[in-house]
């Protein structure tokens, strides 16, 4: 479709390249002129670029509302090799625009929040010059994410995929000279990058397979050809989807590659909110949804995706229970929620997965930003304490001389009085995450649970338990942070954040509250909206559902059916969540208070430690997964690398092969060539010739007697001989 056809479609479709170019423009302005701009100007330029992107996304959405079919906007020729013609084309359909809206909308709010947050953060870390860099990276991330979601083919998607990976790396290591031993943050960035590379390897293999079997990377072409290819080569499609799953586990932090995400919290909190909660990590979910045509054809692969998602959801939720770092809890919560999404898209509930993606972007973005607000509140409190000698002395008595960690929940408490706005929005986010009616999380999570009950009972069980843990750890966090008495002097003197930070929080809180309206029972606005893109897949799944579960086929008449909302599932999960909240509330208020009576030495920092005992230890240490990976993979890898470097490369290759065989052999050869051959034979010939000539000349010179008569005799001899010859001829 060329541009003239596009204009005939009408609407704002031709504006789509702007979603990439506006952030690029923003980052260029900040890069080139940022040195002379104030912090506010830099921040607002970046936010404006992001906001303009969001406006373009909204315009695209309005156009799509009138013309819901997918539109492809070719931009320029990209790769033309042989039969492969790959234009740089933007795809505008309901799925991509949904992602654009999320990235643009949540991204803009986080940009604005970051104006305030980074202002303090760069001062807290004593390097205000990095303020500009942060927003350049942030805009770059928006541009890359937009490339990812607006791609028309898998290769262009991969460009965005790698681009966001790069931005993630850059921003995790934003304070690259900070962290443990001064390189902790840099190591975290490296870990994220390398882990992602394993996933990217899977993505690439999948893309290669696609090119081999489809001859194209284009979504439309692959969707069309998929059934035929699946019939001809089912193993190939299976391999494609499984390798793609590897890519998804890398980018979306699923088992076994999720280990990088908790470490990624080393980046500034807005980064965690935007990249590692709301947008980039959902790229994997988006990828699976994008490839619905492929996944619908291989149930085995779908099963694997669902299992991976379910197990990750439960595992990460249990780990979150044992964490004390406020951001780590949220990080594991993100992994867990991503598990929900992956499980959903895995079993074919694409709409549910995407719906949860959107609502999760709202409330997890909100939670991260709020946690950032909490952390900075604590830092402000610490600052206050530092400047008050009395308080400082008191704090030293209570906590020792060690460094104060503003992210440790054990030092918080009672913040609800000091940070009112943050408390309320945090509470809304937590309830939304916990899945409490009528907040956004309730609707989306419930839809996933409902679909999984029909499609994959095992995953349903896993997810339900995970949902219970979710509600529990969020209650634990809220109680530890906001309720009770301040457990440290900084907490007692924490201060609320400025408006530039709280306003985005309030907006996100509103979205988290009302996000469920997108896809209410009976209306299913979102489902219809995405149906234009994912329609076939959803119908296929629904057909399968009806075929599989006979009871569900009569759902419309059953008492518990509320137009796509199963009252049984909803009630059960809500009750479970409430139960978890109640348990958490009891545990961290009453039980905690009871434990306070114990002597300091025996007093546990967490009541669960006493109840669960070693199990809590397992949670706290993340099942020792990092250690297991280290022991099983990293150390082995290092061993192999050492072996290769020391034994193979150095000892064998360098010492033996190069030094002994090559150099030694060469030396020997050169000796042979130099001494016996060159000096002996070549020089011998040359010198022999020379001396021979000399000798010969010495003999010959005696012929030159200098006597004229001698020469005359020679002439005479010649005459005699020639005449003799003639005479002999005559005879």
């Amino acid at each position: 479709m060329n541009l003239s056809e596009v204009t005939s479609v009408g609407g704002f479709f031709s504006l789509v390249p702007l979603v990439v170019f506006l952030p690029v423009l923003g980052l260029l302005i900040n890069m080139i002129f940022g040195g002379r701009m104030s912090e506010k100007a830099i921040g607002w330029t970046a936010s404006l670029a992001s906001g303009a992107t969001f406006v373009v996304a909204v315009l695209l959405a309005t156009s799509l509302a009138g013309h819901p079919e997918a539109v492809t906007i070719p931009f320029l020729d990209w790769i033309n090799i042989g039969t492969l013609e790959l234009p740089w084309a933007f795809r505008v359909d309901t799925l991509s625009v949904t992602m654009m809206l999320v990235v643009g909308g949540v991204g803009t709010l986080i940009h604005i929040y970051a104006i305030g947050y980074m202002h303090e953060d760069v001062r807290h870390h004593n390097d205000p010059s990095r303020y500009r860099r942060f927003f350049v990276f942030f805009n770059l991330f928006i541009a890359m994410m937009m490339i990812l979601v607006s791609a028309d083919n898998y290769l262009m998607l991969f460009v965005g995929w790698e681009g966001v990976g790069l931005c993630s790396y850059l921003l995790i290591g934003f304070w690259y000279d900070k962290g443990k031993d001064g390189i902790g943050n840099a190591l975290a960035g490296k870990k994220a990058f390398i882990t992602n590379r394993i996933g990217d390897f899977g993505f690439l293999i999948a893309a290669f397979l696609m090119f081999q079997y489809f001859g194209s990377f284009n979504f439309d072409v692959i969707n069309e050809m998929a059934p035929a290819v699946a019939a001809a080569a089912p193993a190939a499609v299976m391999a494609m989807t499984m390798f793609m799953l590897l890519g998804v586990t890398g980018k979306s932090a699923q088992l076994p590659l999720f280990v990088w995400l908790p470490d990624a919290m080393a980046g500034p909190t807005p980064v965690s909110a935007l990249i590692h909660a709301a947008t980039m990590v959902t790229a994997g979910v988006y990828l699976v949804a994008r490839s619905f045509a492929l996944y619908s054809l291989v149930p085995a692969a779908q099963n694997w995706v669902a299992i991976v998602g379910g197990v990750t959801a439960l595992l990460a939720a249990t780990i979150a229970v044992g964490q004390f770092d406020i951001k780590k809890v949220l990080a594991y919560s993100t992994v867990s929620q991503l598990g929900f999404m992956v499980a959903a898209v895995g079993m074919g509930a694409f709409t549910a997965g995407m719906f949860h993606l959107v609502t999760h972007a709202f409330f997890k973005g909100l939670l991260f930003l709020s946690s950032g607000s909490v952390i900075q509140g604590m830092e402000r409190g610490e600052h206050h304490v530092e400047h008050d000698p009395n308080l400082k002395r008191k704090m030293k008595q209570e906590h020792g001389a060690g460094h104060f960690d503003p992210q440790d929940m054990r030092t918080m408490g009672g913040l609800r009085k000091r940070m009112k706005i943050t408390f309320w929005v945090y509470l809304i986010g937590s309830l939304a995450l916990g899945g409490i009616f009528p907040l956004a999380g309730f609707w989306s999570k419930d839809e996933i649970l409902l679909e999984s009950m029909h499609l994959h009972p095992t995953v349903y069980v896993l997810l339900t338990i995970a949902a219970f843990f979710t509600a529990f750890y969020m209650t634990r966090q809220v109680v530890m942070v906001f309720f009770g008495e301040p457990k440290s002097e900084p907490a007692a003197h924490a201060q609320e954040s400025p408006a530039v930070m709280t306003v985005p929080l309030l907006v996100l809180a509103g979205l988290s509250t009302l996000g469920g309206l997108l896809n209410l029972p009976y209306l299913h606005t979102f489902k219809e909206w995405l149906g234009h893109t994912l329609g076939e897949a959803e119908h296929a799944v629904e057909g399968a559902v009806e075929g599989l579960a006979e009871g569900a086929a009569h759902a419309s008449t059953a008492w518990y059916d509320l137009g796509g909302l199963d009252l049984r599932v909803a009630l059960f999960s809500t009750v479970l969540a409430l139960l978890a909240i109640a348990l958490g509330w009891w545990m961290y208020t009453r039980r905690m208070e009871e434990l306070q009576s114990l002597p300091l030495a025996k007093r546990p920092d967490d009541p669960l430690r006493k109840i669960l005992g070693p199990v809590f230890k397992v949670f706290e240490n993340k099942y020792w997964l990092d250690e297991i990976y280290k022991a099983l993979l990293l150390d082995r890898y290092v061993d192999v690398a050492n072996f290769l470097a020391q034994k193979v490369d150095w000892d064998f290759w360098h010492d033996w092969f190069h030094d002994k065989v090559l150099a030694g052999g060469f030396r020997g050869l050169t000796w042979v060539l130099a001494k016996p051959f060159d000096l002996g034979i070549i020089d011998g010939i040359a010198n022999g010739l020379a001396t021979g000539m000399q000798g010969l000349a010495g003999q010959m010179r005696r012929l030159q007697t200098g006597f004229v008569r001698n020469y005359a005799l020679a002439v005479f001899l010649g005459v005699v001989v020639i005449l003799g010859y003639l005479v002999l001829r005559m005879i």
Partner: protein, 100 residues
């Protein structure tokens, strides 16, 4: 009229004697005279053949040879005189500068 071979034989004998004079004698002047003898032997053969072939060209050639001989003697004797001035000798074996 005698057969031409008689004259040719005599010419050959005289020529060989001239050649031997060049080879044997050390006196430059005598060597030079031997060369004149060889030229004369050749002249005799020319004239004999002129008579034999009834062509006067042979005699013309002898005339030219005489002229050349005269010029040669003039230059040759001048050389000998110059040589004698530097070496005080007309012994050809004293002049061995070409000795290798």
């Amino acid at each position: 009229m005698l057969p031409v071979t008689y004259y040719l034989a005599l010419s050959a004998v005289l020529f060989i004697m001239g050649a031997l004079g060049v080879l044997i004698r050390r006196n430059l002047i005598i060597m030079f005279m031997s060369i004149e003898l060889m030229l004369n032997a050749a002249n005799l053969a020319f004239v004999a053949f002129a008579r034999f072939h009834q062509a006067v060209s042979g005699q013309i050639f002898v005339f030219f040879v005489m002229t050349v001989a005269a010029a040669e003697v003039a230059v040759g004797l001048a050389l000998i005189v110059t040589l004698f001035r530097t070496r005080h000798s007309v012994d050809v074996d004293d002049v061995t500068l070409l000795n290798g």
